[in-house]
């Protein structure tokens, strides 16, 4: 990665982003608890361990920039400025959820904050995000789009089609791969002939950048560079964030038979929250007391979201088959 200077984050920014990472972590851990209690049904995919890529990437974006997401998308939405109340309500299947209970965990959009939607189809968001970038380019607006996807999505035609088209047309988009090594239980080295997802960029004539996806500052800096390039009309980049999901693929995967506890321990020592906290402490911005207070406030905030979700109304059953078409 080149050492282009990125706009330095201010101390309040750094603390805000650190808090946001905790908010993402606590949100998804709480969601797993709620599944355990039978309060949430369906499915959800926790992004715990991947907070630095969600938060670091979105920190480099403005309110008019757009993000498309995946099935593991709670962190992306929260990082883009989404409201945890409405996200939690969506998981509870409530009318106050972003998708009014129609979408659930994998199908949440929040256009008001530039969130084009999480997506239940692996790689499904990439063409959509590329189309959003086309609209921005078409109107010559100064905005950019970020398309998040997992390394498993690189097996899909949609990934290759979209990146190829975005690159050919030099659209203002950054393709961000969160490579957590495993697509469900399949390790990427079994399904990809190249060691890094970023290597794919060569085939599309765009920069491919590998970054420590658990390092908030590194992710932020790399994103700023890619976003600057995209805004300048120089086209997409492929940014690969090397990361690891702490928990199973989804709530049904508690055994994690496809990976070792030793490997998990190695990654646990490289936890993005621990890393960020150590840096803040080293810079004198955080101590035991303020850290504890920050985390306690995050817990409270998530409990508020749970309360909001619990006390929200269910959708009206009479409306189940309405709203299929706009304007009717």
């Amino acid at each position: 990665m080149s050492a282009a200077p990125s706009p330095a984050l201010t101390s309040p920014d750094r603390l805000r982003l650190y808090r946001q990472m905790h908010l993402v972590r606590r949100f998804d851990e709480r969601v797993m608890e709620l599944f355990g209690q039978g309060l949430i049904k369906g499915t959800a995919h926790a992004c715990c361990g991947q907070e630095a890529s969600a938060v670091g990437v979105c920190a480099a974006l403005g309110p008019h920039d757009q993000v498309s997401s995946t099935h593991r998308g709670h962190g992306h939405l929260i990082a883009k400025g989404g409201c945890v109340d409405r996200l939690m309500a969506e998981l509870f299947g409530k009318e106050t959820g972003y998708s009014r209970g129609r979408g659930g965990s994998q199908h949440v959009a929040a256009y008001e904050v530039g969130f084009l939607g999480s997506n239940g189809i692996t790689a499904g968001g990439l063409p959509i995000a590329t189309g959003a970038a086309l609209a921005i380019a078409h109107r010559q607006e100064p905005h950019v789009v970020v398309a998040f996807f997992g390394e498993g999505a690189t097996g899909q035609g949609a990934f290759h089609e979209a990146v190829n088209l975005g690159a050919a047309w030099k659209l203002p988009i950054v393709y961000v791969c969160e490579n957590n090594l495993y697509a469900m239980g399949t390790v990427i080295s079994q399904t990809s002939p190249v060691p890094h997802v970023a290597d794919r960029a060569q085939g599309y004539g765009i920069p491919g950048v590998v970054v420590d996806g658990n390092d908030l500052d590194a992710v932020y800096a790399a994103t700023v560079e890619a976003v600057t390039r995209a805004r300048a009309g120089a086209g997409p980049s492929l940014l690969e964030c090397k990361t690891y999901r702490i928990y199973g693929h989804s709530k049904g995967d508690s055994e994690r038979v496809y990976r070792t506890r030793a490997e998990e321990a190695t990654w646990a020592a490289h936890d993005p929250l621990v890393l960020a906290a150590a840096r803040l402490r080293a810079d004198g911005l955080l101590d035991d007391a303020s850290d504890a207070a920050l985390v306690a406030a995050v817990y409270d905030r998530i409990e508020q979201a749970v309360e909001f979700a619990k006390t929200s109304p269910d959708p009206d059953p009479a409306a189940a088959a309405t709203g299929v078409f706009a304007g009717e």
């Binding site: 129609r102 979408g103 959009a109 084009l116 499904g124 959509i128 590329t130 189309g131 949609a158």
Partner: protein, 326 residues
């Protein structure tokens, strides 16, 4: 009224709307300099430039996704899929994305996307360039489907499609491109969901859309000339929304109904329409429902075979004759 080719009528609609609405842009394989495989968009690159008439890589799934993403951002893209058969490659973006977004994301933003595509056989193009796949898409809630049978409707329905806030699959009859008919000048939008009587008749009703409307009318004319049987032909114009009211009213008036579909028989649109007739007009039926559809086989290249697999005027006429006498 000026006589115009179906393909020119489509182009007129595109021009009318692109002049009127800056948000409309065209996306597709070889639609710019080449003018589209069937030349519908010929001349539009010169008129609107490469910003609004965009040649793309051969990536059908991503073209539909591209249109969807651009539509979410406030544009009104018209995507061309070169042959309807290639819709198979775009099914994910059509069915799992475009069709569902408005509902599944809580009705926050509509997806004003038009996907134009030529359908149907009769040109000897063979199994992968001849299909009529409306039934697949009709089975996916959230997509509107328009199937114009005449040049006037080609223009009028396409204008409506481009103004609709929902994804519209716009099925063009491949053999109809070179058909001529009267087309009103200016803004002649035709509303969705309103069937049209293509031929009057009181002995039976033949229900059809797209190219089969013309085949049915020819069959009906022959039937009248040879046997004095007057078949009404109802052109559905759009399959979604489906004008069940007009279908039921027609069946109530004639008491005999037949559905003609170019696509294969099993699980076809005809089966659905037949059941709608059972639900809405059963008591008026004087004879069992009939359908004349494509055979359940790939569409072969050789003319001698293709003619058998696809429904055509003589098969329609003999079925109608039997129905009238049932």
């Amino acid at each position: 009224m000026p006589q115009m080719y179906y393909s020119h009528a489509l182009r007129e609609a595109l021009i009318h709307e692109m002049d009127r609405d800056e948000r409309v842009l065209l996306i597709g394989e070889d639609i710019a300099a080449y003018g589209g495989a069937f030349k519908v968009t010929s001349g539009l690159l010169e008129r609107y430039g490469p910003r609004r008439v965009r040649d793309t890589p051969i990536s059908e799934n991503t073209l539909v996704g591209l249109g969807t993403g651009a539509a979410l951002m406030g544009l009104r893209p018209v995507v061309e899929i070169m042959f309807m058969d290639f819709i198979a490659l775009a099914m994910d973006q059509l069915v799992n994305h475009a069709a569902k977004f408005f509902y599944m994301y809580g009705q926050q933003r509509p997806v004003p996307l038009v996907v134009r595509t030529p359908a149907g056989g009769g040109r000897g193009y063979g199994p992968t360039h001849s299909q009529s796949l409306e039934a697949w898409l009709m089975h996916s809630p959230g997509l509107k489907i328009a199937c114009p049978a005449t040049p006037a409707d080609a223009k009028g329905l396409l204008l409506t499609a481009m103004r609709d806030d929902n994804p519209v699959l716009f099925v063009e009859g491949k053999l109809l491109y070179q058909e001529q008919g009267e087309v009103p000048a200016g803004d002649c939008a035709v509303p969705f969901g309103q069937a049209r009587e293509a031929r009057a008749g009181s002995d039976l009703t033949i229900i059809a859309w797209s190219r089969m409307v013309g085949e049915a009318v020819i069959a009906a004319d022959a039937l009248a000339a040879q046997h004095g049987i007057e078949a009404q032909v109802l052109d559905l114009r759009t399959l979604v929304p489906l004008d069940v009211e007009s279908i039921a009213a027609a069946v109530a008036a004639t008491g005999r109904a037949m559905i003609v579909e170019e696509g294969p028989t099993t699980c076809g649109v005809a089966a659905e329409i037949g059941f709608r007739i059972f639900e809405t007009a059963f008591e008026y039926l004087d004879a069992p429902l009939q359908r004349v559809c494509g055979l359940d086989a790939p569409i072969p290249c050789a003319g001698a075979l293709e003619q058998v697999v696809l429904p055509e005027r003589s098969r329609i006429a003999s079925a109608a004759y039997r129905l009238a006498n049932a």
